[in-house]
Amino acid sequence: MNAPMKPEIDQGQINWPASEEMQVPYQVFTDPRIFDQEQEQIFRGPHWSFVGLEAEIPEPKDFKSTYLGDTPVVVTRDREGVVRAWVNRCAHRGAMVCRDRRGKADAFTCVYHQWSYDAQGNLTGVPFRRGVNGQGGMPASFDMKALKLPPLRVAIYRGLIFATFAAEGEVESIEDYLGADVCGMLDRLFSRPVELLGDERQVMHGNWKLYSENTRDAYHGSLLHLFHATFGLYRSTQKGGCKMDQQGRHSLLTATKGEETKDKSATKGLRTYQEGQFALEDPSLLAGTPDFDDGISLVILAIFPNLVVQQIANSLAVRHIHPRSVKEMELVWTYFGYKDDSPAARESRLKQMNLVGPGGLISMEDGEAVELVQQAIARDGDATSYIAMGGRKGEAQDNLVNEAPIVSYWDYYKRAMHISSTES
């Protein structure tokens, strides 16, 4: 299905300064018109959005319902095992057809008037189509084949399912869309068959792009999240870096355990740098054996527009961003291990779930940070942030004290949304 052509954002509606630093007008986090444009230009535009893992629908007839942007969609595996996706909206009167979060079915029937569809979204049954006793019924012009659940195109990379509203030719292949570095990291993380451990859901009362910034932001790691520092487990000068794809829209943050630059002057006087006042009473929390022999202990891979893939020590998860409105998003964390995990490896992953997620000792503050911004920017749409750590260009960095992936994210966002900077 072709995405409908919508007018670009009127340049009079948004004032994006053309400054040396990246200055993002807060309007993009508060204006419902911009949220609507994002649905068209980003989520229904030339992008691949994450909709689930193949491991969530391993067998024919398995399905899950989810969201692409704010559009309800269903991802199914048909009888032949092919993954399909369609908009969860009956062709008759617009009711939601699939009302279960997940399950097994090869037919989907709308409860309203029992119109039924197959796993590909084709209309297969309409009650009283020929009327009753020669009365009622559909007109001669009624064509079963013309009505269906609007299909999406699907692409799978390493067991991650992506879907798009864009027609073939309007968006790159999934490999080109992700780029070599992102593909390389997905190859690394999904080299073994995965097993689901379960989901966690977190509602953040803030715009979805605040979370996109957060997951491209190495700078905040050791400043907002103090668990490691408090227990003497981490140095804010830990070795790491970030890469972006050619378009600048995806971000790959990595950090390596055990390598640190001993720059004492950098952290001197920081309130948050506590040099480990405390020790863990039960250090088994962090006692996992590394899954990879490359030394990388932290991966935060943010894939535009709606996916974050994480490796935090032994904790593996995909985080699916569901923008519910201009000022609210849901984050669905799907945790996984590998099918061939030893019992000890599985135990480490479950233990380390305590570190991440909405109640995670390391990461619980992210929801708070998103909301703190949303609360403070309520009125001043023309006011801007000031993003300049590591320079304006948004280039790859081999340190964790930069905001380069955020800069490149906003540069890409402006292009995707057809927003130009205004001359000052």
């Binding site: 451990l197 859901r201 907002l224 909405p358």
Partner: protein
């Protein structure tokens, strides 16, 4: 065994009273922000787990919080006090439908329904933060009943903003 004696010798009323007293003291400890005392409600080999119904119904092991030892609970409290950043907030536990289950000499199973409201000190409006059931095993100790295992199964699979306090 000192203190409470063999649990399967206690009257129905006595075990109900002892179990609900423990539950109420436990909730008061959290609601009154005496978190340092929270691990003391558990036996030395006691464990705590908070899961969602979404995962429990699929027999998936993911959890929102899991402390396998009182040591892990104390580590979480130290982290909450010294490391984590969150808005000042109050929990209020309402616990009801207390059902006494199987008993042995030293243990008793108990289930409850609960509701927890969360009120942020900064804005004062409570929200229903979590609703669900608990499935606990209590054990007799010198100090009376303690949790041998506590499993909280939340109906609400969405957590608003963040999860700070145990339930």
């Amino acid at each position: 065994m000192a203190g409470i004696g063999k649990l399967n010798k206690l009257s129905a009323l006595e075990i109900y009273y002892q179990a609900t007293q423990l539950m109420q003291a436990y909730c008061a400890c959290i609601d009154e922000d005496r978190l340092e005392e929270w691990p003391d409600f558990f036996a030395v080999d006691g464990s705590y787990e908070l899961v969602t119904r979404e995962n429990a119904d699929r027999s998936l092991p993911a959890h929102a919080m899991r402390c396998e030892t009182p040591g892990m609970m104390r580590d979480r409290v130290v982290s909450l006090r010294h490391a984590n950043v969150y808005a000042k907030q109050y929990f209020n536990h309402i616990v009801t439908n207390v059902l006494i289950g199987e008993r042995t000499d030293s243990t008793v199973s108990i289930s409850t329904n609960y509701m927890v409201t969360r009120t942020l000190a900064v804005d004062g409006d409570p929200i229903v933060f979590s609703v669900g059931r608990t499935r606990d095993v209590l054990v007799a100790s010198d100090q009376g009943l303690r949790f041998k295992s506590r499993r909280v199964i939340a109906d609400n699979d969405r957590i608003h903003t963040l999860l700070v306090l145990p339930i």
